[in-house]
């Protein structure tokens, strides 16, 4: 079914657009997926989802291209790739770094798809037995993970999450059906559309940031086709980091939370820790490219599992995918696989095909993608704005949504300038309705008591993990601030 011509075309368009968004700064994956969601309305549901999924894993590949060639990560997880990838490019090994990254992504992506095939159906069967306490505990755990790995103090991330959860309460109450927090504005009675808010906060917010301070692209390392062959030694040194990266990435992707960045950081730390050539890391070690790139792709694929099996998204791109499924009348969750096997297996098969397409597309066309960076942000940003605004309109054919998009764009810009991350807010918005509903149902089930959260093993395990993460992070922050204070005191003395 995934090999039907329209699905292959959708996959091709998806991975190409995804690679472009990974390459171009200012047009992140969730924005691209949100904007292109409108394109899928006229498509068969599985074709539309295949295209959206293609954008998602295409961007994973694309992000590494700019990280290696110009020291500019196209996507957040690719930050780690800049450490050694760019150093390799400076030594004239850009082609080898790109090839190792692409091959590693392909190996790990393919292994992760196999993992997805084996893990998602049993997890969905277990998840059928989950009740509100389990869903509430999983959501809490995911939000805690998100807040602890975000940059800056966790209190800031928590504040943004709470604001997002508050935004999720706007509109119709899922339990009673009453309208809340609409303030007499008819457009708010249906709630805040996640996709519109995402286009605004992430897409327009980033555009305004670039308008405020346009980026400058440094020299782009030139790559000839014959340079794309890594040496035999480089390949030998990459095989085990690819496999380890695939395992680390897959395991990280299964944890509710923003998987990509955690996976690349984890893989890099692992490779550096076990490598006999520790001194090469940061100066162009091939393992520093191979491991994180494999981990990133595996995590991206594994992150589909919580969505497809539990119906809970923990990153903005996966949340857009959730919106796409809902728009096509499909409710993600434990019943997705038995009720819509065509969607599940279509996405799985498209991932196999997509990984091959990306390998074929990325390596020979790397020069073309890199040359796109030469387009001035002065031209790129207005074009992205136009696409973003029409994307916001086309979700519900609503002018109110376009206003919302602009307003959230301004909010996103202000947030960035004040040192607050918009992603926790977005995840709060997505998880708000799930959390509220499961929280209220847990209270009703427990006759006013929350003891159920601690007496049911799965819920208790997730809550204990969440508390442990908060304790560990707080302990680390206290130690860090004590060390800084000590250094300041010693410095002034």
């Amino acid at each position: 079914m995934a090999l039907a011509p329209q699905n292959l075309l959708a996959c091709m368009v998806g991975v190409t657009v995804g690679t472009l968004t990974g390459v171009l700064p200012g047009f992140g994956t969730p924005t691209a997926m949100a904007v292109l969601l409108a394109l899928t309305f006229g498509m068969d549901p599985s074709t539309g989802i295949i295209m959206l999924a293609g954008i998602y894993y295409g961007a994973m590949y694309g992000g590494s291209t700019t990280a290696i060639l110009v020291n500019m990560p196209g996507e957040e997880p690719a930050i780690v790739t800049t450490l050694d990838g760019y150093q390799m490019a400076r030594k004239g090994r850009a082609g080898a770094a790109l090839a190792v990254a692409a091959l590693g992504s392909w190996v790990a992506g393919t292994l992760a798809v196999i993992g997805l095939m084996f893990f998602a159906p049993p997890l969905a069967r277990i998840a059928v037995r989950f009740g509100p306490p389990e869903y509430f505990a999983i959501a809490v755990f995911g939000l805690v993970v998100l807040s602890t790995i975000s940059s800056g103090p966790p209190s800031r991330s928590f504040l943004m999450i709470v604001l997002g959860l508050m935004m999720g309460t706007v509109g119709m109450d899922a339990v009673s059906g009453g309208i809340r927090f609409s303030f007499g504005i008819s457009g708010l009675t249906k709630g805040l559309e996640f996709v519109v808010v995402a286009i605004g906060l992430l897409g327009l917010g980033e555009v305004l940031n670039v308008v405020f301070s346009p980026y400058e692209v440094g020299d782009i390392a030139k790559v000839k086709f014959r340079d794309l062959y890594p040496t035999r030694a480089e390949l030998r040194r990459s095989v085990w980091p690819w496999l380890r990266g695939a395992v680390v990435g897959f395991a990280t992707g299964l944890i509710p939370g923003p998987a990509g960045t955690m996976a690349t950081l984890g893989s890099y730390a692992l490779e550096k820790g076990i490598s006999p050539r520790k001194e090469e890391f940061g100066k162009g070690a091939i393992e520093g490219v191979a491991g994180p790139e494999a981990a990133n792709n595996a995590a991206g694929t594994a992150a589909f599992i919580p969505l497809l099996a539990l119906g809970i998204p923990f990153s903005p791109p996966i949340a857009v995918l959730l919106s796409g499924l809902m728009i096509h009348g499909i409710t993600p969750g434990p019943l997705l696989i038995p009720n819509h096997p065509d969607i599940f297996w279509g996405v799985v098969c498209s991932m196999y095909v997509g990984n091959v397409m990306l390998l074929v597309l990325n390596l020979p066309l790397v020069g073309v993608f890199a040359s796109l960076l030469k387009i001035s942000p002065r031209i790129l940003m207005p074009v992205i704005t136009v696409i973003a605004l029409v994307g916001a309109y086309s979700i519900n054919n609503s002018f109110f949504d376009v206003w919302l998009c602009l307003i959230f764009g301004i909010i996103g810009f202000i947030m960035k300038h004040c040192g607050f991350e918009p992603i926790p807010m977005l995840i709060g918005l997505v998880l708000g309705p799930i959390m509220e509903q499961s929280f209220r149902q847990t209270l009703i089930m427990g006759k006013g008591s929350l003891l159920l959260l601690f007496t049911r093993p799965v819920a208790a395990a997730f809550l204990v993990l969440a508390v442990a993460m908060v304790v560990v992070r707080s302990w680390y922050m206290v130690r860090l601030s004590a060390r800084v204070r000590r250094e300041v005191t010693e410095g002034s003395a």
Partner: protein, 164 residues
């Protein structure tokens, strides 16, 4: 200082939200109403906003003490009076937002193609792109998007008086 301003804004939003949440049915622990979860969120938000505000305010005060007093003095080296150049970043961002707002207002009247081309040309000119290039890119991007979305994928786009 920016952080303090932002957090004060957050507290104001929390205040408005709390006032609205208080009017909803709170219910009880065993039968939570529509206002139960929002009230809890307000309490959590207020605590977190204060936790963030206190160190931010302390830093802002410390920074203002560290900065030399320039009150009454003329603009010294590196410090200018409030003169905003037309191509300065704040002006660019404001113009960007104003143009986008005008676009939304025009979208219904002029239709998708014309208003989008005008917005794109306006934004490109504002970013100091040459007239010729701005017109070509603006018109091309507008028509290309209209053809892709409106014609090929049958997405409903605003038609306006000209019918496209």
């Amino acid at each position: 200082m920016k952080e303090v301003g932002f957090l004060c804004g957050v507290l104001a939003v929390l205040g408005v939200y709390a006032a609205s949440a208080m009017q909803l049915d709170f219910g009880s622990a065993s039968q939570p109403g529509t206002g139960f979860f929002p009230v809890l969120l307000c309490a959590a938000g207020a605590i977190l906003a204060l936790v963030c505000l206190v160190p931010a305010a302390r830093d802002a005060v410390r920074e203002s003490r560290r900065r030399p007093r320039t009150e009454g003095a003329g603009p010294g080296p590196g410090r200018s009076r409030m003169t905003l150049k037309l191509d300065s970043p704040p002006v660019r961002v404001t113009a960007f937002c104003v143009l986008s707002a005008v676009y939304i207002l025009l979208l219904d009247r002029l239709g998708y193609v014309v208003s989008t081309a005008l917005l794109a040309i306006g934004l490109l000119r504002m970013m100091a792109v040459r007239w010729m290039l701005a017109v070509v890119v603006g018109v091309a991007s507008s028509v290309a998007l209209w053809a892709l979305l409106g014609r090929w994928l049958n997405v409903l786009l605003p038609r306006g008086v000209l019918g496209f």
